[in-house]
């Protein structure tokens, strides 16, 4: 295969571009200085500050709760949508599922803000965030489930019907076990998207409730301390662990995601 040295140099430079900024964040999280400037010495201080930051911990708890609830509901609805898109080729539903995935997040954020306040007269908070997160996650789950179904041999379902299985039995014993890896991958995707989301949460959270990304945003905007580096490092470690675990216990799932 043709892989000239210039190709290697260019590619390695891009990898460096991807990793150096994040490596600097990790390094500074152990720096014994209030400024993200020169290296003073090693410390765990910023992790200690983090562990005693009530607001940060509350925000992390909120994020976890919202991600759990919204990803469960989005997985159920998204799986249905994926099956419906594959089986019935409903053009309107397909359109409604795919557009929210493709459009800039800010549009979904502001239209939901308008809808929650102007039409539903809802006080923004936990409920509005969960509803918003379900809305943007459904599409991702549906796409993964549909891709899984598309790769399957239709004759299995016909065989089940010919052998007298009802639609429910066909689903329970044939379709569901087969699409399960896709459903799990979709669920993990929805969970990750929810826990990571900043833009849509920013518009639908109101004043009372904060999530981890919202809290990090206000820290970055108002006063940057190396505590941000510490929380960033921990979050990166968490993502890394999840990816390693996923690749170990369910390599199928990781492939479905990529």
């Amino acid at each position: 295969m043709r892989r000239g040295p210039w190709l290697w140099v260019a590619a390695l430079a891009v990898y460096a571009f991807l990793y150096v900024p994040l490596a600097i964040v990790v390094a500074y999280s152990f720096n014994d200085s209030r400024l993200n400037a020169e290296w003073v010495g090693f410390t765990w201080h910023w992790y200690d500050v983090l562990l005693h930051d009530e607001a940060m911990l509350t925000a992390a708890g909120n994020s976890l709760f919202i991600a759990l609830v919204s990803s469960l509901i989005a997985t159920a609805l998204g799986t249905m949508a994926g099956i419906a898109m594959h089986r019935y080729k409903l053009r309107l539903l397909t359109f409604m599922v795919l557009i929210p995935v493709a459009m800039p997040e800010i549009l979904l954020g502001v239209s939901l803000l308008l809808f929650f306040i102007q039409v539903l007269n809802l006080t923004l908070g936990m409920l509005s965030i969960v509803l918003a997160h379900i809305t943007f996650s459904i599409g991702f789950v549906a796409i993964i489930v549909r891709a899984r179904l598309a790769g399957m041999d239709e004759s299995i379902f016909e065989a089940a019907r010919d052998l007298g299985a009802s639609p429910w039995e066909t689903f329970r014993y044939i379709t569901f076990p087969l699409i399960l890896p896709g459903v799990v991958a979709g669920g993990l995707m929805a969970f990750t998207l929810s826990i990571d989301d900043f833009v849509i949460t920013f518009f639908t959270a109101g004043v009372g409730v904060s999530t981890l990304p919202l809290h990090i945003y206000s820290m970055i905007k108002i006063a940057v301390t190396p505590e941000v580096n510490a929380v960033s490092t921990l979050l990166m470690l968490l993502t890394l662990t999840m990816i390693v675990l996923a690749s170990k216990f369910a390599p199928d799932v990781l492939k479905g995601k990529a």
């Binding site: 043709r2 892989r3 609805l77 539903l93 918003a132 990304p213 945003y217």
Partner: protein, 303 residues
């Protein structure tokens, strides 16, 4: 009656409704309705204390009813068109830089042995798995006034006898973070396309006397156009609506469409004008998506 109902609702039909009904109703309620509300809101007057003005009011002094005022305002003040043009230029620049950076990487991965490809792709996605804000924040440190990069750039400028520059809170900072955050969206579709190329084509070109540059420019590049178009759409569209990066890394003059929209909804609380701006953004996005689909569709089997 019961007999007739049974005749019409067959099990297959019932299943169809049970499966497609719930997601359909949910998206109708939380995606279609809000979008329709936003279109309607753009034809209203802003309320006295934010929100929308009433459709009808007994007091004639109160703004009421429907209007084209927000659209007239958008086109009458060049500030808004200028922000749109600036955002489109930013999106173009980001897409172009992403393309130039992603191409060699995607090519290298596609031409690597099969067993190392997965790892190389994973290494592209991995930083992308960390939170969006963290990736933006990282550039606050890298470009900060006391950072190695800033000190180096400024000592170089000083050596050349020029004024020192501020890297952070500048259009440059916004651009570099835009590229950083969206780069994987360009690498992945490009790789997916390049991986499918038949190496025999390059051998054939070589046998026919094409040099390395000709082989790239006349064989690989044209075949990769569908990958380029879909990657470009995946970068261009989110950049066009981005508000967080200019908000965090930009200066006061680096507002893009997204910042303008955010300002209308959360700052000045002029919701009708915010809705109008959002609709303009939607129109721009649809035009770009349509163009990309058309361009990508024209090219044959490697899509």
């Amino acid at each position: 009656m019961a007999v007739r109902a049974e005749k019409f609702i067959s099990p297959a039909r019932l299943t169809r409704w049970l499966v497609s009904g719930p997601p359909f109703v949910f998206l109708l309620l939380f995606f279609v309705m809000p979008s329709v509300i936003m279109v309607l809101a753009s034809f209203r007057y802003p309320g006295e204390f934010g929100g929308l003005a009433p459709l009808t009011a007994s007091d004639p002094a109160v703004l009421q009813g429907v209007t084209l005022e927000t659209y007239r305002f958008f086109f009458s003040d060049p500030i808004y068109s200028r922000v749109f043009v600036k955002s489109i230029i930013m999106a173009f620049a980001t897409t172009l830089i992403c393309l130039v950076m992603a191409y060699p990487l995607a090519l290298l991965i596609a031409r690597s042995p099969k067993k190392s490809r997965d790892l190389m792709v994973l290494l592209v996605i991995l930083p992308f798995a960390s939170n969006f804000l963290i990736r933006v924040y990282a550039w606050m440190i890298v470009l900060g006034p006391q950072s190695a990069l800033s000190l180096m750039a400024n000592s170089m400028l000083q050596g050349l006898g020029m004024e020192p520059v501020r890297l952070l809170f500048s259009p440059f900072a916004v651009l570099i973070a835009m590229v950083y955050v969206h780069l994987p969206f360009m690498v992945l579709p490009l790789y997916t396309n390049l991986e499918k190329h038949d190496p025999a084509l390059l051998d054939a070109a070589q046998d026919l006397g094409a040099n390395a540059w000709q082989r790239f420019w006349r064989v690989t590049f044209p075949l990769s156009l569908p990958g380029i178009f879909s990657g470009s759409a995946l970068v261009f569209i989110p950049v066009l609506g981005m508000f967080a990066i200019p908000d965090i890394l930009g200066g006061t003059g680096d507002m893009l469409i997204g910042n303008l929209i955010k300002e209308q909804f959360l700052g000045t609380r002029d919701w009708p004008f915010g809705s109008t701006l959002s609709i303009m953004l939607t129109v721009a996005v649809l035009l770009i998506a349509w163009l990309a689909a058309k361009l990508a569709g024209k090219r044959g089997s490697y899509a």
